[in-house]
Amino acid sequence: MSKVILTVDDSRTIREMLKAALMDAGMQVIQAEDGVHGLEMLESSSTPDVIITDINMPRMDGFGFIEAVRGNGKYRAIPILVLTTESVDDKKERARRAGASGWIVKPFDPAKLVSAINRVAA
């Protein structure tokens, strides 16, 4: 059973990189362009094993998105990894406070990405 990953990022470049890395690792990828879209994809697609989300996005940012997922009984148990550009601690702290399970530092190394997913995925 391959894992289903929902990625939420407004940058097409990052979306494509995530998709390439995850599909290479044999995972299924669902993609959304911002938080609102991410919530829509959650409702309309198969439930992902792990969600990866960016923070800076239009319409609904990563913090809002995580809160919404955590606030929904159906999805609250899905691990969420945050894509952060810097490994600055207070950003990680904010992501953690918002309810993220973990984080990935951009630019990410595909192997690290996959291992982070495996670490949080059931």
Partner: protein, 726 residues
């Protein structure tokens, strides 16, 4: 790597979009129309560029974007105010960022001094230290490092390493005693103790003991609470950092102690613990497989136990592979060649349809017969298909308009003028090729407007105008064409000077009688340049004659109007598409010609009383009180020597781009028809008065008239004749 190369291309495309977004956002802020979301969008644009650039190791780009982003972040949080000089700095930084992107894509070099200077200014504005010399991105391996630890721990760790080294010498591995007690927050963030244990087991041999002594009675059990804790003895080849990495995401959500220790069992208390583990609780290495059943206990009653979550996907994801592979987007990318092939085919379809219509007519089939009615439907459909296909190639002029604001800034900087660019109608859509080929002429016109059109600030103040000049660029659809205007509020054309130059360069006779419009038009004459010194800005060997030629090559026209003291306006009129036009099919001296419908005002049968001769050959026709020049197409284009008899002809009243009207004499009108434009230049060469050719329903080739050229040509002839007579 093909994928990476493709993604890199996406990155650069995206950069272009982000840069456009950045610039338009900054311009909005400059106009003081921005709100928090504008600043957010601007920040995101730079942030995105930085994120992508980091992925491709474009360090210089990353560094600059980082400095830029930091200042923008300050603006976002209100630490940096949006003062005009700051916004101007940001705009220059945006230009520099664009340069860096371009260099990253196409190679070449940027002005390093300029980059670092703007970087410093940005950092200063942001109140931050200048960009760090090292790449902003730490090596990826950092994520597992001890960066969150206090430096004070370092010595302790070194001594541990010594210890570890000692045991390794004995042939053993690193040993760790790990105790952790998750807090409810750990579970609330969808982390799970079992996964941490699983990770530890992956590292080596783990003896795991679960302490469930704290589980309360069921009646007191909080379903969201956390009551279990674990003690793990791990022997692994990994180091302390690797163990900590397992807990990286959860270190603040659990009580955690990781102690390195030898495995020799010399420590009595350790030995006791080991005994407890093995004897008392019976938790040895194979046990963790059972532990999972216990681990989630506190969560069993929570909304979605992990087991259920894991069960859900298999059923639902049967159809997922295809879905997962698709990008949830309403757009697709298509190779331009495919679109062009489609357009070609539709062109053929249009020709074929009109041929069919002609055959049906020739066969004498009644107009109301089923065949004829069906043919009418086909015609409608063909036209709709054509419009839809053309719409695929249509794009808004926005990107090119946005590019112009940079041109304005640069020229303003160089000439020491203060200029504001106002744009309007950016959403106007035009054929892609037209847009691409507009960039150079528009750039040149904008440069001219700032460099030559606008006065120096002092002169403006003296003339009672605001110091800041305004260049206005607008696009609008007007009767099947797109009209782009570039207007400045400068001094207007100095006609005396233009005239002097034209005489000196022998473009006109010294005693030529020229109207104001004709003098203005001299600016487009080949070899004309009003700047007495070739400035760095406008004069790059390109004159307005080149601008006019490139616009004409697009089937467009450019005209100028100028009012002394109030400014100059250039008007570009362009076809929406280069592929089809609505035309009036007429006959002249046995030839079939097409007159573009957009130029035609009306058709009429001249009466003898309305025709007046003017001089030797020129004739005018009186229409509703105004006299309009009559142009005999047949003799003008050389189809016949004698002048046509106006009373036996039809007059087609046309209007040219500069709003003047003329009446074209033709022998007869065949009808109105949509024609496919086939370029004459690609297959033959440019012919005076002919814009292009087309294929008619009966298979014959007909030429499409270039109304403006025909009318202007006649006018020039008249002027020449007048001059020669004088």
């Amino acid at each position: 790597m093909d994928t990476m190369a493709a993604i890199k291309q996406t990155f650069f495309q995206e950069c272009e979009e982000q840069l456009a977004e950045l610039e338009s956002g900054l311009l909005t802020i400059e106009r003081e129309e921005g709100d928090a979301e504008t600043i957010n969008a601007v920040f995101r644009a730079v942030h995105s560029i930085k994120g992508g650039a980091g992925a491709f190791g474009l360090d210089e780009l990353v560094r600059f974007a980082h400095t830029f982003e930091t200042t923008l972040d300050g603006m976002r949080s209100g630490k940096v105010e949006t003062a005009p000089q700051i916004v101007r700095l940001m705009l220059r930084a945006a230009d520099t960022l664009a340069d860096l992107v371009r260099v990253s894509r196409d190679g070449g070099t940027v002005d390093a001094a300029r980059v670092s200077q703007i970087g410093d200014e940005l950092a200063q504005a942001g109140g931050a230290q200048p960009a760090p010399a090292a790449p902003v991105f730490e090596p990826i391996a950092m994520s597992g490092d001890q960066q969150t630890d206090d430096f004070g721990f370092a010595p302790v760790m070194i001594s541990f390493d010594d210890l570890v080294g000692g045991t390794q010498a004995d042939g053993g591995q690193n040993g760790f005693a790990i105790s952790f007690k998750p807090k409810p927050e750990l579970y609330a963030k969808a982390n799970d103790a079992i996964r941490l244990l699983r990770e530890l087991r992956r590292m080596g041999e783990a003896k795991i003991r679960c302490d469930f002594s704290e589980i309360p009675l069921l009646s007191e059990l909080d379903p969201e609470g956390a009551y279990l804790s674990w003690h793990v003895r791990l022997s692994t080849s990994g180091g302390d950092a690797a163990v900590r990495e397992v807990f990286e995401f959860v270190e603040f959500d659990c009580d955690l102690s990781i102690e390195a220790q030898g495995l020799g069992g010399t420590d009595a208390s350790l030995a006791v613990e080991a005994l407890l583990v093995e004897a008392g609780i019976k938790e040895s290495a194979p046990a963790p497989a059972e532990i999972p059943a216990l681990a989630p206990v506190p969560r069993q009653t929570s909304a979605t136990p992990p087991q259920l979550a894991a069960v859900a996907p298999p059923t639902a994801s049967q159809g997922a592979p295809a879905q997962g592979a698709q990008q949830p987007s309403a757009t697709i990318r298509v190779d331009l060649d495919r679109v062009d092939r489609l357009i070609d085919l539709v062109g053929e379809l249009v020709i074929n349809q009109s041929m069919l219509a002609q055959r049906v007519m020739e066969a004498g089939i009644a107009r109301l017969s089923d065949v004829a009615v069906g043919l009418d439907d086909l015609e409608h459909l063909t036209r709709e298909i054509q419009d839809s296909v053309m719409a695929i190639r249509a794009q808004p002029v926005r990107p090119i308009f946005q590019r112009m604001s940079r041109v304005v800034r640069e020229v303003a900087d160089m000439t020491g003028k203060s200029v504001r660019l106002i744009t309007d109608g950016e959403n106007c859509e035009v054929d892609k090729t037209v847009i691409e080929r507009l960039a150079d002429p528009l750039t040149h016109m904008i440069r001219n407007a700032v460099d030559h059109g606008l006065e120096k600030p002092d002169d403006r103040v003296k003339a009672g105008k605001p110091e800041q000049g305004v260049v206005r660029m607008t696009a609008a659809h007007r009767s099947g064409r797109v009209v782009i205007e570039v207007a400045d509020d400068g001094a207007g054309i100095n006609r005396a000077r233009v005239r002097d130059i034209a005489v000196r360069k022998e473009l006109i006779d010294a005693d030529a009688q020229l109207s104001d419009a004709e003098i203005d038009d001299l600016i487009f004459a080949p070899g004309f340049s009003t700047a007495s010194t070739i400035s760095d800005v406008s004069g790059r060997g390109v004159g307005m004659d080149v601008v006019r030629r490139s616009i004409q090559a697009l089937g467009g026209r450019i005209t100028i109007s100028s009012r002394p003291g109030q400014g100059t306006t250039f008007t570009l009129s362009l076809p929406l598409t280069l592929a089809v036009l609505d035309g009036m099919v007429v006959t002249v001296a046995g030839q079939t010609l097409v007159v573009p419908l957009t130029a035609i005002v009306e058709t009429l049968q001249p009466k003898a009383a309305d025709i007046h001769s003017l001089g030797e050959k020129a004739r005018v026709v009186a229409i509703r009180g105004s006299f309009i020049p009559l142009i005999d197409i047949g003799s003008e284009l050389g189809y016949r020597d004698s002048e046509a008899d106006p009373l036996q002809s039809v007059a087609v009243l046309v209007e040219t781009e500069n709003q003047s009207q003329s009446a074209l004499l033709v022998d007869g009108i065949i009808g109105q028809q949509q024609v496919v434009i086939k370029s004459l230049e690609t297959n033959y060469g440019q012919v005076f008065g002919v814009a292009a050719a087309t294929i008619l329903g009966d298979g014959r080739v007909a030429v499409i008239l270039d109304i403006d050229a025909v009318v202007a040509g006649t006018g020039r002839d008249h002027a020449n004749r007048k001059r020669n007579a004088a």
